[in-house]
Symmetry: C2
Subunit: 546 residues, 2 copies
């Protein structure tokens, strides 16, 4: 499916008047960031195009682009906000901490949905929809759940002009209302397993917000299942974290580490929480998805029982699991660079952008005609392709713009290319001339095969790059001192751990790092706890996190 | 795409204990309806299967099924609620007026989404997402908008444990927040048109609720566009009502009447509202979708301006348009009958259900094997097919169950069919033996062609049936007396109208009918207003409505 995006507001972004204003808009909750509007200055004068080779001097336009966002190395947070603004992924909503997801950002979320929705159905789940208003009393039924969520609630107290008798919670997650309904639907073992999912908005009154990563309202999917045995529930929880892991590696090129959360970090109301932890470009950890084995905590609180095959009444065993629009933030912070966003081809709304280049008016029709044919051929081959044929912008401007948007491949077509029936192909992930290949045949079957091959190559390459970055930033530690050194260097520390909650909280207090997970992949051999020296069964990964 | 639905809770529905309880659950907000639980009584004793012809005596099982829901003719509302319960489309949420959309009901909504989402993108719209919390002050900016919506608002007053400084409205519709953002994104004519859509939940504090038709929270899509000229905005508003009309006719087999709303019935904040009006089985009108030309009402209220080509600042011209989960209610009430739901093939989550039939254990494997092959062949041909191979229910029970669910075609396969390499095919829309064809070859290409042909036939037939029902229930009237007679007979009245708002409200008060629309299709010739006798340019359609 080709996603044809209208991006009508982009042209305005680069007008001086707007560029001067937009950073303020995006930064209004981030007053600590100061930055000169270099972007405005560099873009108010149009990039000049030197067409000695029928095309743009990429060196020069890249130099201009380099100034477009705060360098990642200089200020990662400012870089992140700049990319979100300039790649038109999101904007702030009028209410503090809320986010407007703009078409290009939403298209990435749609790609996430398209993949996961199929996987959920393949694994036996049906989509459905639960109301977002939850009676306040529901939240109070599961003790640790209320403790975890009550500080974050948005509460409706007025409806239809009247004060409500019972306050309503705007769902922060749906376990309580799900169990209320499951109790009505589940009667015997024949009703199990009950496996559903919903795509929905959720609200958590967060104090420190950041677009995509942590917003007052966000979009997610939440799966909810009920089973007849604890083994089945555990198998389901593991199955779903595996689905997320596979998605992260294969679609988003994010080499997440899957594992189990410590007791301290377990979801409010769960027996066990499984997680995928991703290393961002600043080496902070991002919890990118979780799957919870809820045991009988909610079924006991809500009386969700079934009659088993021997006629006995039992509480069901449950799971829940979720990924959210936070994943978009993870993609940005894993792959982006100083030129902007860099999207893995499998998740990119646009995989290939075609930029036609002409100088003389005589060449225009010929070039546009060839560009259209190439577009049609790639489209027919199932490639998500966009032809940027607007007259309003120069090729140099377009190069920068689509690089900022992270489109994996660019095809350039000028009059000489048309004569030789070939095109130039540039990779987003390999800057400059190294990533540019001349003379690729326009012949559809040749070009399609070449493009598909390159897209695969980029997909693998992004994963490999992220993997080696990750691996070079995880340090094996065997003592608390080593852990402290690793964390102070901004790295992840991996070491044997069998100490208690108290020691875990001490690490957090003293280093800022938390246990991200006990990874599924464990080293062999005898281990002793880095903190206590006692025997330890597992290594844990410690890191600072979002 | 084959939608494989897990329906784990259905078995329980037919257990006596549950059947006795469920009506109460579904009716708890409809105390005026009294009904004996005949469904429970008839289903607590399993349908007996007489397999003289290797298959079920349909006459007998239909007789049982007839008692399953309140007859439509007896009590349309009770019938509607019964179908929703027994076809497992929805359930009531814990908060008054909220609805849980169950997997089978949600799958119909997904079919609606799949079709419209493609059409919206084809017509140049991008999906995005606006926050649902709107500052209260926004709602007050457009005078008629606040008047229309303020009685229906849900208001968040507490966030993160604290009383909020500014109350937040849970979106009843998004024009205000959309304009707040558009004002930041739109600067010059180059930014126009700006055409977006969002799939979202909305909240309206309705007093009289009814599943799908009117609920406190519902799901919808809302399109929002901004244009440089009034002509473009008008063209867009018309284009989108046309998309809805085509969808209604071609996908849902609902012969809606498209037209313009009267001033009284126009959307709060719009200049013109276009609508599609559908006739339900009880001949009440259902407003199934609307498209609004908003003029400059919101752009003036929010200062949404652009610089035109001559350098002048102008307010943008806007539209908005929506369909919601109400459409699912429309499908139920257009096509359903005393046997339950009846789904048009193009919108059906399951188009064909295969029921294997065997008596002797020896036959089981052979029959199931053949049924699986047939399933695979139809699946490969792109038909949404479900094989109901569960051992827990008799074929008779399954026949009734899938008829209740409105599956357009049933394939029966017994041992004799396997011997003769043929199947029996039954149409949901043609009851009894008339709808049953024996000896259709199992050979994949033959069977696929036959099934596809039949699905097309059912699709057309449902539309034709609904059309003739509609047409036989619209009466042309030329006086108020004639209008009153038509309305008192439960029909729609169509007559020339040029009277004012006061007369329109008088009709409503005296007859209960409102102007549903001035239809696009108008009779020729000179007309005089049915109320005043003055010249009239158009006929209007009057009807009682949901």
């Amino acid at each position: 499916m080709v996603v044809s995006l209208r991006l009508p507001s982009l042209s305005s972004l680069f007008l001086p008047s707007v560029s001067r204003r937009s950073p303020a808009v995006l930064r209004r909750h981030h007053h600590h960031i100061l930055r000169t509007p270099v972007f405005a200055a560099s873009f108010s004068a149009q990039t000049t195009v030197s067409e000695t080779d029928d095309r743009v001097d990429t060196q020069k336009s890249n130099r201009v682009q380099d100034q477009a966002v705060t360098p990642r190395s200089k200020d990662f947070n400012a870089w992140y906000l700049d990319v979100i603004e300039q790649a038109e992924l999101a904007d702030y909503g009028p209410v503090r901490g809320t986010m407007v997801i703009r078409p290009y950002g939403y298209a990435i979320w749609e790609a996430i949905q398209d993949y996961l929705n199929v996987k959920f159905k393949e694994t036996g789940h049906s989509n459905m929809y639960f109301p977002q208003f939850i009676p306040y009393s529901f939240i109070e039924k599961e003790a640790s759940h209320v403790e975890g969520f009550s500080p974050e609630l948005a509460v409706v107290t007025i409806g239809g002009g009247k004060e409500l008798e019972e306050k309503l919670v705007v769902r922060p997650t749906s376990e309580t209302i799900v169990n209320h309904m499951f109790t009505q639907w589940i009667h015997s073992y024949r009703d199990l397993p009950l496996m559903v999912n919903q795509w929905a908005n959720v609200t958590r009154w967060e104090m420190r917000t950041k677009p995509f990563v942590r917003t007052l309202e966000f979009l997610w999917q939440e799966g909810h299942t009920a089973h007849a045995t604890p083994e089945e529930a555990e198998k389901e929880a593991i199955q779903m974290i595996d689905v997320y892991t596979k998605f992260a590696y294969e679609q988003t090129a994010m080499p997440v580490i899957a594992g189990r959360k410590s007791k301290v970090e377990t979801f409010a109301g769960a027996v066990k929480t499984y997680t995928i932890e991703a290393m961002m470009g600043d080496r902070k950890a991002l919890q990118a998805g979780t799957s919870h084995n809820l045991g009988q905590n909610f079924s006991r609180a809500f009386g969700t029982q079934f009659t088993d095959e021997s006629g006995l009444r039992q509480h069901v065993w449950q799971t829940s699991w979720a990924v959210s629009t936070r994943f978009v933030g993870g993609i940005i912070m894993t792959h982006g660079d100083d030129t902007g966003l860099m999207l893995p081809p499998k998740i990119a709304p646009i995989q290939v952008v075609i930029i036609p280049i002409w100088k003389k008016d005589d060449d225009r029709a010929v070039v546009l005609n060839a560009a259209s044919s190439v577009k049609e051929a790639l489209h027919a081959a199932g490639i998500k392709v966009k032809l940027d044929d607007s007259d309003q912008r120069t090729p140099g401007w377009k190069f920068n713009f689509w690089e900022m948007k992270g489109v994996p491949l660019r095809i350039e077509i000028g009059p000489r290319d048309v004569s030789s029936q070939s095109v130039v192909v540039s990779r987003r992930d390999v800057p400059g001339k190294q990533g540019k290949v001349f003379g690729i045949s326009m012949e559809p079957s040749v070009l399609e095969a070449y493009i598909k091959d390159k897209l695969d190559e980029i997909q693998s390459s992004l994963l490999e790059k992220a993997k080696s970055f990750r691996d070079s930033n995880i340090v094996d530690v065997s003592s608390y001192d080593e852990l402290k050194v690793a964390i102070s260097q901004g790295k992840w520390a991996r070491g044997p751990w069998s100490a208690g909650d108290k020691e875990e909280l001490r690490v957090k207090e003293e280093t800022g790092a938390t246990i991200r997970c006990f990874p599924f992949e464990q080293p062999r051999g005898i281990k002793s706890c880095l903190m206590t020296g006692n025997p330890a069964e597992e290594v844990a990964i410690f890191a600072k996190s979002y």
